[in-house]
Symmetry: C2
Subunit: 573 residues, 2 copies
């Protein structure tokens, strides 16, 4: 029997017996071929690997509970869109939950881990990883799920396009452009809001149907001919305006496919930034911890007026300290004694920085940059003790400004990993990011609140205020040794407490880890969770069997009992 | 009996008898009170009125077929959100279609007219017309449906806020901010894409539930207290980040409520442009008709690089000719002899303009503007015969540049109506706007195609290329005498032929008139209209009885038989 060829899975989704799984898996194998199906068995070692060398796809390498908490039954690597469609149809038949990733590098948010253990994890990026188009005149690209920021960067260099267009990358470049944008990730050029800068999607729906959104919903003249000749929709030449105009005609649906479980994206367009032909990064340091509110209040008008052209980031010194040296350089204490104020002051001094470090850049031709820099310097240096640096002012090895200067040009680099690599052993990262007003008082209140909770949890505080067009993402980095169970437990307590603290103040998170989605969704409580009811109605209409990523963003299909599945504030192990 | 108090309606929706309507209307009257229900009876004169003095709400004053083609049974003016909810519940009970407008000034697209005759037209703006907030620090506002651009403009002036924030208005200011943004209207400052600049919505769904999207989905601390004290959701203090961050957490739903029939918007936030503290409008004229492709190819890189900071518009001279004088000034021929090339040349000469007129502006402090203006002038004047004008170079009365200089600051003005007021008698306006690449060849092909069809239809061609961030809206203005049935018929033929011509080339429209929605939706044909199927699935899930604006954007709920209702290419009367 064919099923006997498939290994026995270690984790099974709800409603599956080993036998049913094997039936399913043998059917699946017939679609994708043996080498594209990998079953997680009792013998599979869940290896975290290294950030650089290993693509950890079986689980969350930055696990918050146990390695085994969110693990799929199998990993499948479809070779093309029609295989994705076949897989989705098969999943409907068997009611198999399927969790799609493009690269699975969603570090800080769950990596490759599915929300429902035993799900089929579909790695969209292994084979579908082509850059389908880069139009350097009209400044856009069209990519498949597997395309990474690094790959795009290399492509632009190889094709001599970098003097025409830039990419915008998150700090690290190994993630996928599509996965990052779908999770509403950010970068640090003026094109930093990746969701805002996407244009046109191709999606496989839960029923296996293929949709192109926006102008892609109109066939091109060639596409119509190809359709007649039997070319499948996904291979038809798209409408030439697909990547030029987002909305198309009628309801604009793209948003319901971001941070959601309503579809599987197979192609997406992104707008690229024209090379601004001129770029000057800069850094401002602030002496005192208590300078925070004054700095934020200076930033607000500059940012909203686009004098600060990119997602301005104000870094807490601990982050820079960790970038330069391991923790032992700053303290002799163990990990459960957080750095003290004095140690942070000493670190700032030792590194010739401040308690807060602002990194920004101006873009454009010389006279424009000059005008912007002048205002920026004048305003941002109004705080007593502030200091202004340009690239040439920082000559130390591994300078954060020099590293950041690349990031702010959209060039991902590995330096951004330094702090994770050497701060503490098995250094692990959980991202917690409440949204707030760009306002000194809010920033201070949020910072104090977080710092106190970090102290209670006996953890070092790390954070960056990343200032968008009208709000701040306060990216708080929770850093721990994942092999230390007691520390992990403190982290669970910390993050769950902070979620509640923030919600009490009306602050909500913009993105999160799979293990925290339920609690965060629950904080969006207006009118008896009216928005969640809307999300559920749409989910159930599009995916009646509830196969696509059940539980993503806290949205459970009707076939799952939320009261049993949701992981709330008390879920601390 | 109460029902007897309600007048007999002239137009009834499907499934309604006079008696059923009267039952419905008397129940409705009990909700809103007598003075807020206006039934269209046999005796109701359908008055077009004047663009300025009369708010035509009964029908499309710029009708394309007959005045009586798209007319509601009654007009209702809810006084608050809970009345809207009650009305929606009543409509579900009676299966009454309801068409919501905020001001009904959607001229060129159907005005206040419902797609399904006999619908209840719900005027959201009569009573719900408050500016709820203008935050000049964070540069946003929160408004109710009735708030017009003019009203906002007056508010800013009255509260001395105009030196802090600008609005972005369409050419005319009598429309609602909400209705215009929902229909994805545009303006002419750098904030011209109104949908892109909305932030946060409050919506009544078809089931009567109230939803706030984005960060509004999280209650504010005060809101939670109010909820406990029994304050209804719509009156609870919103989350302070509602107008600051669009996406919130999880699926981002806003888009499915634009150009759609999925909900009724009761509040919406808009981002406002910080006063740029410096502004220089300019104009470039081009001598020859055939200059078009060269000009467009010059514009593309300037626009994508934001050297041209606002939605650049390139106007065909006929528009300016009409702005200055009635048609009789340029020709002795009747309306069915379109202006000739010679007459257009003569008009350009007479007005000291060109065959194409570019109007733009630069924004920002002096050195920035200087740098941008220099590049712009150098590039845009490369075309032989081009001429450059600043405000002081145009001293004639009613100068289009002076008028446009206001529009490009977001200040709506009545001058934009001059051409409609005097060009021909009963001058009527239908807007037809295909999207294309920003590329000389596309522009030329589209222009030639349109011009030839106008000639066949014996109509004067009017058009503006409005250049967005990556594409052009080619806003073609079809202008006719609505009292001339033969001319109207030629217009019907023209627009329906152009829709097909454009679709054949892969060009789709971004917005349209109620009478043309079906045909245009039908041109979005990729993969057997896969996007429409998605739209329908969502529609049917959210509005199972199909009461909200059936047929809007071509989306028909399952209770309507599309094959009977759709108005296609052959619908010419
Ligand atoms: C030191 C450090 C710095 C970082 N800095 C940043 C930063 O600056 N900005 C930032 O945004 N992130 C940052 N991250 C987080 C993360 O590494 C990146 O966001 C990364 O790009 C995400 O991984 P990915 O693109 O491979 O997405 P994936 O893991 O493939 O996917 C992300 C999400 O989208 C869903 N998804 C993916 N593909 C599809 C598809 N085809 N169809 C449907 N759903 C899909 C997945 O289910 C998942 O929920 C950082 C992480 C670290 C460790
Ligand atoms: C000379 C001239 C120039 C023009 N220039 C421009 C221009 O530059 N830019 C531009 O965009 N338009 C322009 N227009 C078209 C039009 O006048 C404006 O777009 C106007 O703002 C639309 O009217 P309104 O805002 O009152 O919208 P409404 O008519 O109230 O609504 C517009 C659409 O949204 C829907 N809607 C409205 N309110 C709600 C709600 N609360 N809930 C759900 N759905 C709702 C309606 O059903 C309708 O489909 C122009 C028209 C003319 C005659």
């Amino acid at each position: 029997k064919e099923a006997s060829k498939v290994p026995v899975a270690r984790f099974l989704p709800p409603g599956f017996t080993t036998e049913k799984f094997q039936d399913f898996a043998s059917r699946l194998q017939a679609i994708v071929s043996r080498e594209n199906l990998f079953v997680v068995t009792e013998d599979t070692a869940l290896e975290d690997g290294d950030y650089l060398t290993i693509d950890c796809q079986t689980h969350d390498m930055h696990f918050l509970y146990e390695r085994e908490e969110f693990v799929g039954s199998a990993l499948v690597h479809p070779r093309n869109v029609s295989e994705v469609q076949e897989i989705v149809r098969l999943c409907n038949e068997f009611v198999m939950p399927v969790w799609s990733i493009s690269r699975g590098h969603n570090i800080g948010y769950g990596g490759a881990a599915p929300r429902v253990s035993g799900s089929l994890v579909m790695h969209m990026g292994t084979h579908m990883n082509k850059i389908l188009e880069v139009d350097a005149e009209n400044c856009f690209c069209l990519v498949e799920p597997g395309v990474t920021f690094l790959q795009m960067q290399e492509y632009l260099i190889k094709h001599n396009l970098i003097d025409k267009v830039w990419i915008d990358a998150p700090e690290l470049g190994f993630g996928s452009m599509i996965g990052n944008a779908l999770d509403r990730g950010v970068g640090f050029t003026p094109y930093g809001d990746h969701w805002m800068n996407h244009c046109g999607m191709e999606i496989v729906l839960a029923n296996g149907e293929l949709v192109r959104t926006g102008m892609g919903a109109m066939s091109s003249p060639e596409g119509r001919k190809q359709a007649k000749a039997g070319v499948p929709p996904q291979d038809q030449t798209p409408n030439e305006c697909w990547q030029l105009f987002n909305y198309g005609f009628g309801p604009y649906n793209d948003g319901i496919f971001s941070q959601s479980n309503n579809g599987i994206v197979t192609k997406m367009g992104m707008w690229m930034m024209p090379n601004p032909h001129g770029y000057t990064p800069f850094m401002v340091t602030y002496e005192k911890d208590s300078d925070l509110p004054a700095v934020i209040d200076i930033i607000r008008p500059l940012r909203v007026n686009m004098v600060l052209q990119n997602a301005a980031s104000l870094r807490h010194v601990a982050l820079d300290a960790a970038h330069y040296h391991p923790r032992t350089e700053y303290t002799d204490d163990t990990f459960d004694v957080p750095l003290t104020e004095e140690q942070l002051d000493a670190a700032a001094k030792k590194l010739d920085l401040g308690r807060w470090i602002y990194m920004g850049a101006v873009y454009g031709p010389e006279p424009v940059r000059k005008a912007l820099l002048e205002v920026t310097k004048k305003e941002m240096c109004k705080v007593p003790g502030s200091r202004w640096f340009l690239l040439e002012d920082r000559k130390e090895e591994f300078s954060t400004l020099h590293s950041r200067a690349e990031t702010m040009m959209g060039i991902p680099n590995w330096d951004e990993l330094r702090w994770l690599k050497h701060w503490i052993p098995n250094c692990t990262f959980l991202s917690f990011s409440p949204i707030s007003k760009v306002d000194g008082q809010s920033a201070w209140k949020q910072y104090q609140m977080a710092k106190n909770r970090f102290a209670e949890a006996k953890l070092d505080f790390f954070g960056i205020f990343s200032i968008g067009l009208r709000e701040m993402h306060n990216v708080i980095c929770i850093v721990y040794n994942r092999e230390d169970a007691a520390m992990r437990k403190r982290v669970q307590w910390l993050v769950r407490t902070l979620i509640q603290d923030c919600a009490d103040n009306g602050w909500g998170e913009f993105r999160t880890h799979v293990g925290l989605m339920d609690q965060i969704a629950d904080t969006y409580d207006f009118n008896g969770h009216a928005l969640m009811k809307l999300n559920e109605t749409i989910k159930n209409a599009l995916d009646p069997k509830g196969i696509l990523a059940p539980g993503k963003s806290g949205v459970w299909p009707k076939s799952y009992d939320r009261s049993k599945w949701a992981l709330g504030q008390d879920y601390i192990k």
